[in-house]
Symmetry: C2
Subunit: 186 residues, 2 copies
């Protein structure tokens, strides 16, 4: 019985995070209410604070799940983080990052700090796979990491605006040619 209750609780949490991710992508963080999320998830509104404290707690859960999704991948072969990242940006829900970014850079944004943590987590994951001797002379792993995470962000932006103008497979080939081996050079 207790196990079943835990399962139900975890299932509710998962449904709420998925609904929130979709709605944040569609309407933005600010414009999405607990009512919207509860309705989409088919779960009582009152359970949101119980699971996540407040709306920022829910945002954090959404971002965590997205980062985990990107880092562990799904369709891409394991051990190929580049293919995982490039596969991740094709998911419909990944548009979320563009919508939230615009809110995060607004003056006095309540979500800036949370969004900053997301970028930091991505950089940390990439940074951990780079060794200094693989880098161009005179450059730092930190800066290389910003560049690489930035490339994925900015390729995603261009593809999302004009998918017909951006060949993601060809871009992945260029990245692979330029990347240190630790990041999955073929």
């Amino acid at each position: 019985m207790a196990t079943r209750r835990i399962q139900r609780t975890e299932e509710s949490r998962r449904l709420l995070v998925t609904a929130a991710a979709e709605l944040f992508a569609e309407k933005g963080y600010r414009q999405t209410s607990f009512v919207d999320i509860a309705e989409r998830a088919g779960i009582s509104r009152g359970s949101i604070p119980w699971h996540f404290g407040n709306k920022l707690g829910l945002l954090e859960a959404v971002l965590d799940e997205q980062v985990q999704g990107m880092l562990t991948g799904t369709a891409a072969p394991p051990g190929d983080p580049l293919a995982q990242a490039m596969g991740f940006i094709r998911l419909p829900v990944t548009r979320l990052f563009i919508t939230l970014l615009a809110e995060a850079v607004e003056a006095d944004s309540p979500i800036r700090e949370h969004y900053a943590r997301l970028h930091a987590a991505l950089r940390q994951a990439v940074r951990a796979r780079i060794t200094a001797e693989e880098l161009p002379a005179g450059t730092t792993a930190e800066a290389f990491t910003v560049l690489l995470v930035g490339a994925v962000i900015g390729v995603h932006a261009q593809w999302r605006v004009a998918p017909e103008a951006v060949d993601l497979d060809a871009v992945q080939d260029v990245m692979r040619a330029l990347l240190p081996a630790g990041l999955g050079r073929a």
Copy 2:
């Protein structure tokens, strides 16, 4: 007299484009009205359609000016497009691109096509400076261009969210080490 009128007309147009760029960056495209723009510019509202036709015409003028600003640069030494692009992203008004991007990727966005043209213009400017023999084997200039424009977009995003975590000068060094000579390797 005619010359003076032309000067006044050009001055009005310039003030309106500047005001619109600021307001689009602050409030987004959709939330900005002709009244807001006219007030900020100190120019009669009626002159906006006269100059730009409609709001999309004004957006196009704003984006054109931004692209020209990025391509011709200001503080950066001429002939160094990388330094120009990296200098450009530090300008307050460049936040505009993040705000508009979020609107451009919304369903049925009226500005998507215009934003796509902006990305295309940036890619074209980069593409014109790349020769095939400078590229890694098995890669295309088109894909390299998407990657490079993407890197600038995504570095800007990270820096805008957390300037203390992103060393733009160090990132510029990495880019210079990886770039074909036509794009301004030192």
